[in-house]
Subunit: 402 residues, 2 copies
């Protein structure tokens, strides 16, 4: 860890067990933690304008290096003033390294696997990996079929051109089906890539861009411990936890339990790709400070609304016939723009008719609901009642009553 | 014509030649005229929330009887409080009669033909017409294949259940390829249907719902004159001009010239399905008070932005490679939310990536641009300089400089 307030400051304001609340001060302003980070994969939180994302209370979004380097290209975004200027967002941005996406091309859709959905067909057009070596990954672009290369230096260079506030180091996201030996060797290579990322960034990176290291190690306690220590020893500004988190939620929480105790308390900790309501709460309980995840926005595109329904994975399908005549809002007591103005019956109708407005209303609700979950968690930690909050959420209370 | 201020008041505030500005006072508030009326075909202006449509300055939207009667059904919307309540819109609504859509099933896509694009494949799933008779039209629903019937009484009944502020009478929208004899007989039937609509509405219609008659007659001066007189003699609250308007814009303006002189000056006049920038200006010049059209919203879904480009039908394709690196807004000087915050290059990127946000940003721009066209026309009429405004727009001036 390094401490360099010009890049990033992390202030813990209150703790309650391992959970804590504070703020991450980036070169584009502060981010209250624990924070959920909406995906702006292609320089937009799907269906929303940047102003709306800010109105929802979000202070940090995640842009995808892989997608943006292929189209429109990092050079073009840099020429247009950087990613903040390009997408009209003046708050903080974290960029991932592209590692997750290129290795998903080789290993299958890791995100689905982590969530226990192995064997699903990957969505959309896929590129393919041509070669993985110590240098990096040669792959074929899913956009134009052109051969491309990304390694630690290339990833940091793209992220420097994008001008994100927080860059993530280039890593291999090891899949669950990789054996212990592969995972061990891959994790060591990820550590060497970490050193190369930091060396490149020290020399060439934007002065005010922070860099987060990534802990790998699969589901193996010794590999996770070793990775946690190895990453913590380097001159990073924060730590992300990546790779497979197991087959199911208990295993995911187990991986967190074998990792977080080996990380410096004072380090800001990000959990990659996780964001269902119970996972947010369990992550916060283990000292995680931020989370990014496609769940709220992706569910919206499939007609699903987040709701205090622990027995149904905290969601329901508004397209179900049961909601056709429902005059109540998506979630009683929810103060989001959708629930304030519209009935379930209306959202049901729009979602069935595949109207863009339906996706939008569900996206607004799901992101408001998720922000409410973390905002109320921050309050609960500050008030020393996080354990009660956690129990209430897991028992089916809406955040504002928990 | 009837005058019944409880249903509708129309106040002409200023005239300049045949052009005039005023307000239409409906049971859901006033509408400044000349007005453009965005389509809310399926109870939403595509990709926007009702609040956004109001923020754009619109006071009247058009809901489609055909679409809403098939799904979710007029009874359901009535049970949920009517169309205003259903879509969360507390300003005025006009509903069409469903005639245009069911006759399009029989005649082909009349809208395309009017615009000189005959022979295009109709978009989307199509139902089919089983029988056209004096009673009305038997057709097969494009949604579930069920046999349905709509005639004058059914149309008015649906519109009564929707609770629109202005209902349109059930008519046959005669296509351009119909011969004079067919058009004459069809127009007479439309007149008989007008009487049946008014009879049903007098007995059963909502007390505060206004009814507009529709002038037909194809491209035939004598039929248009006869229809204009016949419609004007009945107890309607306003007049819409429907049917084919010819093969091209000069013919369209010709059909207006053979129709409007035979309508009462004091009647509010709506031109159905027309809304390209030059057509709005030419319609206003001929005394038209309101227009509805899919153009601004449909163009947005195809990556097209409205702009002061008379030589290119007032539009350009933002997906063109020429815009990939353009740091300027869609239209210089435009104060819409999109142009204030985003470059052409960003909208280009989103439109090419088929991101919903791209459709949204273009919809916001196109509707803001169109509202600006009619708002500036209102100012020009009030100031007695409409002729100069018309020339400036047709010569390529943006509305705010014309």
């Amino acid at each position: 860890m390094r401490e360099d307030p010009e890049r990033l400051e992390f202030e813990i304001e209150a703790s309650d067990g391992a959970a804590r609340t504070g703020r991450l001060v980036t070169s584009h302003g502060p981010v209250a933690t624990p924070a959920f980070v909406p995906l702006a994969t292609k320089a937009t939180v799907r269906s929303l304008s940047s102003a709306e994302v800010a109105e929802l209370g979000y202070e940090l979004v995640l842009g995808n290096t892989y997608h943006l380097m292929l189209s429109p290209g990092a050079e073009r975004i840099a020429a247009l003033g950087g990613l903040h200027e390009f997408m009209g967002w003046d708050r903080a941005i974290v960029t991932d390294s592209g590692g997750f996406q290129v290795f998903s091309l080789a290993h299958g859709n890791v995100a689905d696997e982590i969530k226990g959905r192995r064997g699903q067909k990957p969505g959309g057009d896929q590129g393919s990996v041509l070669e993985i070596s110590e240098e990096g990954v040669r792959f074929r672009s899913h956009i134009d079929g052109a051969e491309r290369f990304i390694g630690p230096e290339e990833s940091m260079q793209v992220q420097a051109a994008l001008g994100s506030d927080i860059a993530l180091v280039f890593d291999e996201c090891t899949p669950f089906h990789a054996d212990r030996d592969y995972t061990a060797r891959s994790t060591e290579r990820t550590h060497r890539w970490l050193d190369r990322c930091l060396a490149w960034h020290d020399e060439n990176g934007p002065r005010r861009q922070a860099v987060f290291g990534i802990v790998q190690g699969g589901v193996h306690p010794d590999l996770r411990e070793r990775s946690a220590q190895r990453v913590s020893e380097t001159a990073i500004d924060g730590i992300a936890i990546g790779g497979t988190l197991g087959r199911d939620k208990p295993e995911m929480y187990g991986v967190l339990d074998m990792t977080t105790p080996h990380l410096p308390v004072e380090a800001p900790k990000h959990l990659l790709g996780i964001g269902e309501p119970d996972d947010l709460i369990e992550g916060v309980a283990r000292g995680i400070d931020s989370f990014d995840c496609a769940v709220p926005t992706r569910l919206a595109r499939h007609g699903m609304a987040l709701a205090p329904l622990p027995e149904d994975r905290f969601r329901f399908n508004v397209r179900n016939a049961a909601h056709a005549e429902a005059a109540e809002p998506l979630v009683d007591g929810c103060t989001c723009a959708t629930c304030r103005s519209h009935t379930r019956a209306y959202v049901h109708y729009l979602a069935r008719a595949e109207e863009l407005t339906g996706v939008r209303l569900l996206t607004l609700h799901n992101l408001a609901y998720t922000e409410s979950l973390v905002a109320c968690a921050r309050d609960a930690i500050r008030a020393g009642r996080f354990q009660r909050y956690r129990e209430a959420i897991l028992a089916g209370s809406p955040p504002w009553d928990a």
